[in-house]
Every structure is written in structure tokens, then in C-alpha cells.
């Protein structure tokens, strides 16, 4: 009973919220926001219950409508999924609280539609996180693409083109993924991830299996924006409304990354597909290239949101590197980096949105003297930046640490050096931001004009969460992420 309630709270509550908004509040932004917050509150509760249930390796499994796999669809929540579900629910709640003031300043109309679409996106992402059915994941993937498309396009102007590009690439990615699922279905006759994994153990390696793996990886890689499949991301993040940027920048790519992680290590297992080592090697190379490319591009940007977008590409590179290494430590690092980066990037986008809200611009010059105008937001911005650079005790340090140790465990000194040295690259572009904030005199002297409470609250909470997640990383990693069966199967965390 509780199990079904958790899944209902995570996935169905946002869907119903979206429907209710369409029926009851399409002309009333305020009512739409309240409905959205209510349904997300239920989601949050469900995520908290999920975390409680998945501590120390617990797994929740539920068959929709009582139809068990292979015929029915299985929903499955393990520690990793519960952590990510919490991130999605919490960030979405923060964004919806924030959106009230922010959207009124940025959007001429369609504000209720924003809430409906956000809820739909949240439902889709939660669905992707919790499903154990590969085809079901495809459905949620498409829903998330379409709702994200709408959320970006709602910004109008340049956002329309950016979102169209996103839609095209997203559809291509989803199609690749679907083809991959088709190959697996042809080989195994099942769509359930765990069943496929079992059947694959007695299936001889074949070209079809390799093709399936390659298609799944490319499809999810596109959605995850792994370099060089990142083309859609910078424009989409830059031109979307601030609230959208924070939501999709915070969680969307991570969910695809988690799906990729599962495909590579829970569906396939070492030795089953000849192509698997090649796939992980290439993923590692691309991740490494992404780290360098994203950081260097971020250094060259004058537009705050664009800078943050390129920084996302770099950080997805870290996650890709972690996934490619495949030992428990590196995967724990990759998953923890999804959480750390999700929180930090959302905080940064929320503050960037605050800058747009106050000054109507988002180039770096508009940051001058920000610490006098918005001291608290600036403090949050600094905390999030430090986490992005990887300074303890913020969460970003610990994810980087586990990735580093994971590299050493895998004997990959080259990646180790890259992960460590790239800290300096991130430090450089955040340094430019700090300089723009603290040491450039604004053209007009600025007086204190902090963001309204409804916008400040999510910013502050996210920054506090970055610190809490860092200081409490032993809980997140030791009790939630590490004991999941997926990681346990891959061996012990930190060899010695």
C-alpha cells in the first residue's frame, strides 16, 4: 500500500496537478501556482517516504494495475532513484515558488501553462527515474521532451528557435533509443530491464545486441547532452525563461544520465555485449573532451546564462566520465555529482533569473556590484560557485573526490589528472564572475534591493542544501547510493 502511494505521489500527483490546472486555472496564474505547489508537496512527501524506504539497500517495486512483468509495467525505486526523485521534487517545488514573480516579469502571457507544463515535465522525469520498463521509459522520455519544448518555447523570440532545435534533436535521440529497445525486445522478448538482464546472461553475443547497445547509448547520450551531442543545450538554456532554465538545467539531463547508467550496468553486464568496453571507453573520452570543451567555452562567454549552460556541458562530462569507469566508487561519484551539480546549477540559474528580474539584462556587466544590491542572493551564488569548483565542504567537492578515487581504482591516471586539473578551469570562469560582481564598479551606485521573499527563499534553500548535502554526504552516499543493489553488484566502494 505504501509502495503504491510512493509511486502515485511521485508520478501521478504532478500529472493530476497539470490536468487540474488545465481544467480549473488556465486563466488564473495565482491559482495555477497554488495547485502546482500542492501537487508538488505531495510529490515531496512521496520522495521523502521513498528515501526512508530505500535506506540501506531497500528497493520498492510496484506493478501498475497489478499486472506483473513481463506483461505489465514495473515501477522500481532504489536508493539512487530515491535520491534523484527527491532532487526533482525539491527543485521543482523551489522553481514553482520562484516562478510567481519571475515569470510575471518575463512572460507576457501563458503563465498558467508554464505550471501545467512544469508538472508534466516533473511527472515524466519522475517516471523515467522510477520505471523498470524500457519502453515505458521511452514514453516518459517523449513526454519530457515535449513538455520541455513547450517550457522553452514559452519564452518567445529566440527561445522558439532554440526549442525547435531541441525538439528535433530530442526526437532523434528518442528515436535512437526506441530502436535500441526494439533490438533488445527482438532478442529477449521482454521490455523489463531486470528480465532483459537475466535473459541476456544466457544470450550469446551478437551483432544485434551490439547494435541495440549502441543505439541506446547514442539516444540517451543525445538527451544527456554528452559532448559532441550537446548542440541543443546552450541556446535552450540561454533563451528559456529563467524558471525553465533552473528546472531543466537542474534535473533534466541528469535523469537521462541515470537512464544511461542503468542501461550500461543494470541491463547489460560486462562480457555480455562485445561492444560494451568500447562504448564505455568512448563515453569516457567524450566525457573528458566535454569537460575541457565546456569549461573553455564557458570562459569565452559574456552572457551569464550561456556561461552557465556551457558549464553544464562540462559537468555532464564529469558524470559521463564517472559512468564510463564503471566501478562502484566512480558510479557513486557520478550519481552524487548529479545531485550536487543539479542543486548548484539550479541555484546559479535562479540567481541569474534574479539578475534578469531586477536589471532586465543578463550579460556579465550587469553583475557589477551585485553584492550590494542582493547580498543574500550573492552569498547563495558564491556557495553554488564554490560547489561547482569543488571546494569543501560543499557537495561538489565530495562528488569530485569520489570520481577521483574512482579513476584511480580503475587505473585511469589520465582521467584522474583531468578531473583534478579541470578544477582550475572551472575556477577560472567562476573567478571572472566573482570579479564582475565584486570588483567592477556599477555605472550607477546601487542600493540594497534584494529579491522578493518568494524568489529568495528557493535560492537560499538550495544554497543551504548544497552545504547540507556536502556535510551529510556520508548519509547520501553511505546509506542511500552505495547500498543500492546496482552498485553492490559492482563491488565495494573505495577498494581498501
Amino acid at each position: 500500500m505504501t509502495t503504491s502511494l510512493v509511486f502515485a505521489g511521485l508520478v501521478l500527483s504532478p500529472i493530476f496537478g497539470a490536468l487540474l490546472i488545465v481544467v480549473l486555472a488556465l486563466n488564473n496564474a495565482r491559482r495555477a501556482q497554488i495547485l502546482a505547489l500542492l501537487s508538488l508537496a505531495i510529490s515531496l512527501g512521496a520522495a521523502a517516504a521513498g528515501i526512508e524506504a530505500c535506506r540501506d539497500g531497500g528497493v520498492l517495486s510496484y506493478s501498475y494495475a497489478g499486472w506483473t512483468a513481463p506483461i505489465g509495467i514495473e515501477a522500481r525505486l532504489d536508493g539512487i532513484a530515491a535520491a534523484l526523485a527527491m532532487l526533482i521534487a525539491a527543485l521543482a517545488t523551489g522553481v514553482c515558488l520562484y516562478a510567481g514573480r519571475s515569470l510575471r516579469a518575463e512572460l507576457p502571457r501563458d503563465i498558467p501553462a508554464f505550471y501545467a507544463m512544469s508538472l508534466l515535465l516533473v511527472a515524466a522525469l519522475q517516471g523515467m527515474t522510477t520505471t523498470a520498463d524500457l519502453f515505458n521509459l521511452y514514453v516518459f522520455l517523449e513526454i519530457s521532451s515535449l513538455s520541455a519544448y513547450a517550457l522553452i518555447a514559452i519564452g518567445g523570440g529566440a527561445a522558439s528557435l532554440a526549442s525547435f532545435r531541441y525538439l528535433l534533436i530530442g526526437t532523434v535521440g528518442a528515436s535512437f533509443y526506441l530502436l535500441g529497445v526494439a533490438f533488445l525486445f527482438a532478442l529477449t522478448g521482454s521490455l523489463n530491464a531486470h528480465e532483459i538482464a537475466t535473459i541476456l546472461q544466457r544470450t550469446p553475443p551478437s551483432a544485434a545486441l551490439n547494435a541495440g547497445l549502441a543505439l541506446l547509448t547514442v539516444g540517451l547520450g543525445l538527451k544527456m547532452a554528452v559532448f559532441p551531442m550537446h548542440g541543443w543545450l546552450p541556446d535552450a538554456y540561454t533563451y528559456a525563461p529563467s524558471a525553465t532554465s533552473a528546472l531543466i538545467g537542474g534535473v533534466m539531463t541528469k535523469v537521462s544520465a541515470l537512464a544511461l547508467l542503468r542501461v550500461l550496468y543494470a541491463v547489460f553486464a560486462p562480457g555480455q555485449a562485445e561492444l560494451l568496453p568500447a562504448v564505455t571507453t568512448v563515453l569516457g573520452i567524450l566525457g573528458a573532451a566535454g569537460i575541457v570543451f565546456g569549461s573553455v567555452m564557458a570562459l569565452a562567454q559574456r552572457d551569464l546564462k550561456r556561461l552557465l549552460a556551457y558549464s553544464s556541458i562540462a559537468h555532464l562530462g564529469y558524470i559521463a566520465v564517472g559512468i564510463s569507469l564503471g566501478n562502484a566508487t566512480a558510479l557513486a561519484g557520478a550519481v552524487f555529482h548529479m545531485l550536487a551539480h543539479g542543486l548548484a546549477k539550479a541555484t546559479l540559474f535562479l540567481v541569474a533569473g534574479g539578475v534578469v528580474y531586477r536589471f532586465g539584462r543578463r550579460n556579465l556587466d550587469s553583475l557589477a556590484g551585485l553584492h550590494r544590491t542582493m547580498p543574500l542572493s550573492t552569498a547563495a551564488f558564491v556557495v553554488a560557485s564554490l560547489s561547482m569548483i569543488g571546494i569543501p565542504p560543499t557537495a561538489g567537492f565530495f562528488s569530485k573526490w569520489y570520481l577521483m578515487i574512482g579513476c584511480l581504482e580503475a587505473g585511469r591516471t589520465d582521467l584522474f589528472v583531468l578531473v583534478v586539473a579541470s578544477t582550475l578551469l572551472s575556477a577560472w570562469y567562476f573567478l571572472r564572475l566573482f570579479e564582475a560582481i565584486f570588483f567592477v564598479e556599477p555605472p550607477k551606485p546601487r542600493t540594497r534591493d534584494e529579491l522578493p521573499t518568494a524568489m529568495l527563499l528557493p535560492v537560499g534553500a538550495a544554497a543551504a542544501a548544497i552545504l547540507a548535502l556536502g556535510l551529510g554526504n556520508q548519509f547520501a552516499i553511505g546509506e542511500l547510493i552505495e547500498p543500492t543493489p546496482l552498485l553492490q553488484a559492482l563491488g565495494q566502494l573505495v577498494a581498501r
Partner: protein, 488 residues
């Protein structure tokens, strides 16, 4: 071991002071009293935490990674450094008030807040019980001092601050790499007197990698050749910053880290087998000669002092790298002596700058007659750095020389003596110009204001007191010997 949160409170005091200072932008007098009160409070807090031979205070561990916790521990070495930093913070705050107000500097709130935060980070560095905690405060120190280097907000200051951050963050990155390998190989990051035993059985390549990373990571802040480039540039900061942070807190955190790496991570046995410590000792000797030689040709007083700092920091590294009890005691002693001596010299440079606006040595002819106390203090500092008895610099240098000879490295003792001569050669021309050349340019000037004069007299006096009674105030010498014995 006594478990208590009090060491954490000591770290929090300056950090809270920084937060309060930020809120008091419009009330400069209350703001500065807040800094002074915090400094005094911190000093007594640190004194109350001093360890005895059978009781060390540490905080309960806050587990962060398997086998590694955030933890503070007040051992003898940390206690010496923290006492030094907190005592000099009070003196420097007093001096800062005079300096900043006399020059009518902008952004004083940011200045005092960053200063307090930097001291908090330094105390954290001193009390860190393991490398992870150390790393946290070490990075915090970088970020807290960054606004101080950029203080003037001119292009020169911004360029210097970028250089500063690039060097120090780069050092942090290298340090992080070393920590990663150390952890992967031994599963611990603890500081243990005499070194981590598991490290002995690690493969030599990994040992060398860890040692090199730690020494590079700490060596940047310790301005070890060739990683010293940021220090002369950072002299663009206001003089009190150069005095406390770039002669004591920041650079000595680097040196402190080097000693931790040598004596508390590796230990004499492992290092002797590796043969890496001799290499480090000779690198330090090269830095000593390099710094002293370059100092000779600097006309800008602060830059000359900066190069002198580069050379003297390596005295400490040298002492630690020799691995004998006497040399290690000398290293700890020199950490204290140099702090008092160099802060005195910087205070004098700042007093001259505030009173006359001059910062070049060639412009100082005859100033000694107008500012006899200031220049008198400067002369004491110069003699002390050269190692002339009965000043504190002599005692530490004596231990260092003795240690070099005992460990069979007589050439290093020669380097120390030569460097003493060079010290005279680059500092005494300043005293000579000030007292024995005449110019009527300074007829209208007198001593600096009392907030600046009193601190520099006080630190100069301390140099004499610690020279005559090295164990004054239950002090440096016995602590240094205790530390040196504990790591053998």
C-alpha cells in the same frame, strides 16, 4: 585526548566577526571595536586550548569519507601557529585601523571582514587534524585573502589578484591530486606525529607522486622556488595585509603544511628511504639564496621585504627537511621568529608610506631623524633577520645551523651563514640611508600616528624579549623542542 567543541569555537570567532563586520558598514568605530574584541577573544581562546604533554583537545570527528572526518585537534605545533596568528591579528588590527583611516581607504568593511575571515581560516589550518580539514581551510584562506589582494581595484591590483588566485588555486588542485592518491593508497588522510606508517609499503612512484604533490601544493603558499611568483605581485595589497597575511598567516600556512607533510604524513623513516627530503632541503637552500640575492636589487621597500620573506620561509622548510630533532626545533622557532621580525619590518614600511607617501628605498634619505622610533624598530628587525644576537632570529638560526651540521649537510649551514650576510647587505642600506644620509625633504614629518607606532614598537620589543628569553611566556623554545621530539 579530550573531546570538546572548543577548538571549533576558536575557528568560528573570527568567522563570526567577519559576518558582524559586514553588517556594520555604516558604523566604523563599532565595526573596528568588533574586530579588536574578536582578536582579543580569539587570543585567549587559543591560550585556553594549549595542550599539555598528556592532554590534547580535539573536536568530535564529523565523518565525511570512509575513514576520514572533519576534525580539529590542538597539538603543540598547531597551538604554536594559532597563538602566533591570533596574537599578531590583534596587533595588526590596531595597526590596520591607523593605516586604513590615515589613507582614507575605500571598502574598509570588506577589508576588515576579509581579514577576519582569513584569520579564521588560518586558525582552522593550524588546528586541522587531517589533510581533508586542512584542505578545506587552506582553500578558504585563498578565497578570504583574494579580496585583500584585489583591494585597490586598479588594473594592477586585479592582475595581481588573478595571478594570486591562479597560483594558489593551482596549488590546491595539485594538493587535491596528492590527497586523492594518498587516500587511495593508504585509506587515511590523518596527520600522525612521525608519519603514516602505511605509507612505507606504498609503491615508490606513488610515494614520490604524493610527496611532490603535497610539497607543490603547500610550496606555492610557502613561496618555494620556482613557485614564488605571486608573492612579490601580491605586495600591491595594503601594507597590513602584506604584514600579517603575506609574511605570517598565508605564507606560513604553506610552510606549516610543508612541515605537516614532512613530519606528520611521511615521517623521517619513509623520507630517508625515499631520499626525497635531501632534494627538498637543497631546493630550499636554492630558494634562500635566490630570495636574498634578488632582494638586493629591489628599490621598492615592500618588494625587497617580499623577496626576503621568500628566502626566510625556506629556512623553515629547510629545517623540516633535514629531519633531525635540532633542525626541526629550529624550523618551528624560525616560524615564530620570522613572524615577529618581518611583521615589524612591514609595519615600518607602512608607517613610512602613510606618513610620507614614499615606498622606494632611494627616497628615504634622512627619514630616520624624523621617525627615529620607526626606523629604530626597522633596525632591530633587520638585525634579527640577519641572525644577530641577542635577537630571536639568532636562536632559530643557531638551531638550524646546528641541525644542518648534525645531519651531515655542512654546505647547508654555509648557505645559512651566507644568507645572513646577504640579509645585512639588503636590509642595512635601508637603515643607513634613513639615518646617515641627509635630506631636508622630511622636515615637516614626524612619527606615524600612535595606532601604527605602538604595534610596531610592540613587535620589535617582542623580538628582543624572545631573543633574550627564548622561553618567555612558557614559550616557543620548549614548545619547539617538544614538537621536534614528538615527530622523531
Amino acid at each position: 585526548m579530550i573531546e570538546s567543541w572548543t577548538p571549533a569555537l576558536a575557528v568560528l570567532t573570527p568567522c563570526l566577526a567577519a559576518a558582524v563586520v559586514l553588517r556594520l558598514d555604516r558604523m566604523p568605530n563599532i565595526r573596528e571595536s568588533c574586530s579588536l574584541t574578536a582578536a582579543l577573544l580569539l587570543f585567549f581562546q587559543v591560550l585556553s586550548l594549549l595542550p599539555t604533554e598528556n592532554a590534547t583537545i580535539q573536536t568530535p570527528p564529523l565523518a565525511m569519507l570512509p575513514g576520514v572526518a572533519l576534525q580539529l585537534r590542538v597539538d603543540f605545533f598547531g597551538a604554536v601557529f594559532a597563538t602566533l596568528a591570533s596574537a599578531l591579528w590583534f596587533v595588526t588590527t590596531l595597526y590596520s585601523i591607523g593605516y586604513m583611516r590615515a589613507l582614507n581607504e575605500h571598502a574598509q568593511t570588506r577589508y576588515f571582514a576579509s581579514f577576519a575571515a582569513a584569520v579564521g581560516a588560518t586558525i582552522g589550518v593550524a588546528f586541522s587534524a587531517n589533510l581533508l580539514t586542512f584542505y578545506l581551510f587552506y582553500e578558504l584562506l585563498t578565497f578570504a585573502t583574494y579580496p585583500l589582494v584585489a583591494h585597490k581595484e586598479t588594473e594592477v591590483a586585479l592582475v595581481a589578484s588573478r595571478k594570486y588566485l591562479t597560483y594558489t588555486l593551482g596549488a590546491g588542485v595539485v594538493l587535491l591530486g596528492g590527497m586523492g592518491v594518498l587516500y587511495a593508497e593508504t585509506g587515511t588522510l590523518d596527520f600522525r606525529p612521525g608519519g603514516i606508517a602505511e605509507l612505507e609499503s606504498v609503491a615508490p612512484t606513488a610515494q614520490y607522486f604524493i610527496f611532490a604533490s603535497l610539497i607543490i601544493g603547500f610550496g606555492v603558499k610557502a613561496a618555494l622556488l620556482p613557485l614564488h611568483g605571486w608573492l612579490p605581485s601580491a605586495m600591491v595589497a595594503p601594507t597590513p595585509v602584506s604584514a600579517l597575511l603575506h609574511a605570517v598567516a598565508v605564507v606560513k600556512s604553506g610552510v606549516f603544511g610543508c612541515v605537516r607533510a614532512i613530519a606528520f604524513v611521511f615521517g623521517a623513516d619513509t623520507l630517508t628511504t625515499m631520499g626525497a627530503s635531501d632534494l627538498l632541503a637543497y631546493l630550499a637552500a636554492a630558494t634562500i639564496l635566490f630570495g636574498s640575492t634578488v632582494a638586493l636589487s629591489q628599490d621598492n621597500l615592500k618588494r625587497r621585504l617580499a623577496y626576503s620573506t621568500i628566502s626566510h620561509l625556506s629556512y623553515i622548510v629547510l629545517g623540516a627537511a633535514l629531519l633531525t630533532t635540532t633542525a626541526t626545533a629550529g624550523a618551528v622557532l624560525h616560524l615564530v621568529s620570522h613572524a615577529f621580525l618581518k611583521i615589524t619590518l612591514f609595519f615600518c614600511a607602512g608607517a613610512i608610506y602613510v606618513t610620507t607617501g614614499k615606498d622606494k628605498i632611494s627616497q628615504l634619505a634622512g627619514i630616520g631623524r624624523r621617525m627615529p622610533l620607526t626606523m629604530g624598530a626597522f633596525a632591530i628587525g633587520s638585525l634579527g633577520l640577519a641572525g644577530v644576537p641577542p635577537l630571536n632570529g639568532f636562536i632559530s638560526k643557531w638551531y638550524l645551523c646546528l641541525g644542518s651540521i648534525q645531519s651531515g649537510h655542512t654546505p647547508l649551514a654555509v648557505v645559512l651563514v651566507v644568507s645572513g650576510v646577504l640579509n645585512i647587505a639588503y636590509l642595512f642600506p635601508v637603515v643607513y640611508t634613513a639615518f646617515f644620509e641627509s635630506s631636508d625633504e622630511f622636515d615637516d614629518y614626524g612619527e606615524a600616528r600612535i595606532e601604527m607606532l605602538a604595534p610596531l614598537m610592540l613587535t620589535a620589543l617582542a623580538c628582543i624579549v624572545f631573543g633574550l628569553w627564548p622561553d618567555a611566556g612558557n614559550g616557543p623554545l620548549s614548545f619547539a623542542e617538544l614538537i621536534a621530539r614528538s615527530v622523531q
